[in-house]
Subunit: 337 residues, 2 copies
C-alpha cells in the first residue's frame, strides 16, 4: 500500500518525519511512502543524516502551511503546500492513506474539503487515542466540531467503535457518553437527547453516561463528546498530567539526597512516564472522511511517525472506512445534512 | 455573627462537623453556631468525644436528606431535614450564613428555592476554589446550570470576581473564559457570544479566552464556564490528579528499596500532596442567592469545616452579597428571567 506523508508538518519536520518513514518502510514490507514537500530539502536532509529514501517517492511541494495560516488558505494561497498536495494526492487515489503532524485545524479543514466526507456522515471527527490506567481509549470528537447535534454524536459513537474494534483490536468496544453524572437524566440538553438516541442504537455497545472523574481509570473504550467538550477534556487531562508530573520531577531533582532517592526507583518511575506517553499511540485518526487520514502528534519524533504509519496501515487493511459506511448507512437514510 | 451549620451533611457527619464547629468557635470570637440535626445525637456525640458545645445552639431536625433523595424532597417529605431546616433558618434571618457538606444537588436546589436568588441574578452558581501551581482559582459555574445563556456566564464572571477580591483577597481578579483556543473566534456559539459580551463589560478584568491546558499552571483567578463544562473540567482535573498521584504512590511503596528512596524525600512529597489538597480551601461558595451559602467538601474532616466557616465568615464580613447586587444591577436592568 502507499501511504502519503506530509514531510513538512510538525515541530520536528522534515528530519524526524523522514526518519520515521524510513523506520516504517523497513518494518513493513507492504508499505511504500509518498513524501510531499520541498524535494531538494528532503533529499539533502536524507543524505546528511544517512537516511535511505528507498521505496519513498517525493512529490515536490514548494509551500508549507504554518500554524499562523488560516486553514482555508489550503485551498487558496497554500494550495501547493506539502499538506494540501498530500490531501489532493489522496483524493486522487494516488495513495491509500495520509499521515501528517502539522496543524490540526488545517488537516481537518483540508481533509473535509479535499478528501470529503463519507456519504451520510454529518461531520468528520478528530479522535485521539489517549492513555488510561488499563491501556488506552478513544476520545471522539476532540475539537473538529465545536457545536454538535445529538445525531452527530451518535455517528461519532459508531465511527469510534468501528475503529477501536478493527484497528486497536478491542472486542465489542464499550461506548460511553461523556457527562456530568451517570444517571440517564444527567447533563445538558445535548447529552439528554444523545442518551435517548444512543440507548436504542443498534450495533453499538453503549454503556451509558461516563463521568470524566473516572477517565484516567479506564472503564470505557470510546468516549463520545461534542468537539468543544472533547477538546476541554483533552486539554484539562494534558494540563493536569503535565503539572503534576512536573511537581514530582521537581522533588526528584531538588537535592542530592532526593536525586539518590529517585535513582533507586528510576525504572519504575519511567514506567509511569511511558504509561502517560501520548506518542505510544501515535496520535489521532480523523474519522468520517472518505479515505484514512491520521494526525500524528505535532511534537512527535521519528518513532511517533513510525507508530502513526503502523496504525494507518491497520486503518487501511481493516477497511475501517468501508465498515463505517456500512454501519452508518441506516442512520444516513434518516436525514441528510 | 451566627453561622448555621448542617450537622448531618457529609461523609463524616455529625462528628467531624461538630468538631469543626468547635474549632471555629474557639478560633473566632465573633462566630456563634447554629447546628441543625437530631439534637439527641449531637449532644451524645459531643459528650462522647469531649467536644464543647459552647456558643452553639441546636435546632432539632429529625430527618436527614441523603444522596439518594431527589433534591426537591427538601420541600416535601424532607422538609424537616437538617439541610432544609438550616436553609429555612437562613431565609428567616435567624443566621447570617449557612455551611453544609451534604449533597451538592440538594444544597443548590434548596438554596435557590428557600433562600432565593439575588434580584437580577438569572442563575445562582456553584463556584469551587481549586488549587493550581500559583495558589488557587475559582471555577464558576461547576454544575448548578447545565444549559446556560451568554448573559448568565457574564453574571458568573461578576460574582466570581467580587468573591475572589473580597473573600480571597485577590486584587483585580483576572477573569478568563474557559475555551478551546485563545483567539476571540474560538469555541462554540455560546463561547463566541459570551466573549463578545465580556470584552465590553465594565467593572471586570476580562483577560480573554483561557485554555484548560494551562489550568493547573495558573494565570487566571476566575475561570468562567457553563455548569456542564465546568463540571467536566472539575471532574477531569480530579480524576487525572488522583490517577497520577496513585501511580506515584504505587511506585513509592513497590519495594523496600523504593520505600527507602521515597522516605528521604517524604517532606517534599507531602508538599505536593498539600498543594493539591482541596480541603485547604474548604469548598465552594454558592453565589447568586440572597445570603451566603457555602458547600464544604463532602469528605471533609473537622479542619475542612473549620476552614469553610472561616471563609464563610469573610463572605459575610466583606458583604459579598451587597457588592454582587451593586455590581449586577446594571446588567439586571437589561433583561429579567
Amino acid at each position: 500500500m502507499k501511504i502519503i506523508v506530509d514531510a513538512f508538518g510538525g515541530d520536528n519536520a522534515p528530519l524526524e518525519i523522514i526518519k520515521g518513514c524510513a523506520m516504517a518502510v523497513e518494518k513493513f514490507d507492504d508499505v511504500d511512502i509518498i513524501l510531499t514537500g520541498d524535494e531538494q530539502t528532503i533529499r539533502k536532509v536524507a543524505e546528511e543524516n544517512d537516511i535511505s529514501l528507498d521505496r519513498m517517492d517525493i512529490v515536490h511541494a514548494p509551500d508549507v502551511i504554518t500554524m499562523e495560516d488560516h486553514p482555508t488558505e489550503l485551498m487558496k494561497s497554500k494550495k501547493n503546500s506539502s499538506l494540501a498536495l498530500a490531501l489532493r494526492l489522496l483524493a486522487d487515489n494516488e495513495g491509500d492513506a495520509m499521515v501528517g503532524a502539522g496543524s490540526t485545524g488545517a488537516m481537518l479543514t483540508g481533509a473535509t474539503l479535499i478528501v470529503k466526507r463519507i456519504k451520510g456522515i454529518k461531520r468528520p471527527a478528530l479522535a485521539p487515542i489517549m492513555p488510561n490506567a488499563t491501556g488506552m481509549f478513544m476520545l471522539i470528537d476532540c475539537g473538529a466540531n465545536a457545536d454538535c447535534r445529538p445525531e452527530m454524536l451518535v455517528q461519532f459513537a459508531h465511527m469510534g467503535s468501528v475503529y477501536m474494534k478493527n484497528v486497536m483490536g478491542v472486542e465489542n468496544p464499550r461506548v460511553g457518553l461523556a457527562n456530568i453524572g451517570t444517571e440517564e437524566t444527567k447533563g445538558d440538553e445535548l447529552r439528554k437527547a444523545t442518551f435517548a438516541l444512543l440507548k436504542d442504537e443498534p450495533n453499538l455497545n453503549f454503556t451509558g453516561n461516563f463521568e470524566t472523574r473516572d477517565i484516567a481509570d479506564g472503564g470505557v473504550d470510546v468516549l463520545v463528546a461534542d468537539g468543544f467538550t472533547g477538546n476541554i477534556i483533552l486539554k484539562t487531562y494534558e494540563g493536569v498530567a503535565s503539572m503534576l508530573s512536573g511537581k514530582f520531577k521537581g522533588v526528584f531533582k531538588k537535592s542530592l539526597l532526593n536525586k539518590l532517592g529517585a535513582a533507586v526507583m528510576l525504572k519504575d518511575l519511567n514506567e509511569i512516564k511511558k504509561s502517560m506517553d501520548h506518542n505510544e499511540y501515535g496520535g489521532a485518526p480523523f474519522l468520517g472522511v472518505k479515505k484514512p487520514v491520521f494526525k500524528a502528534h505535532g511534537s512527535g519524533k521519528a518513532i511517533t511517525i513510525c507508530n502513526a504509519i503502523r496504525l494507518t496501515r491497520e486503518f487501511v487493511q481493516s477497511d475501517v472506512i468501508g465498515k463505517i459506511e456500512a454501519d452508518i448507512s441506516g442512520a444516513a437514510d434518516k436525514s441528510e445534512d
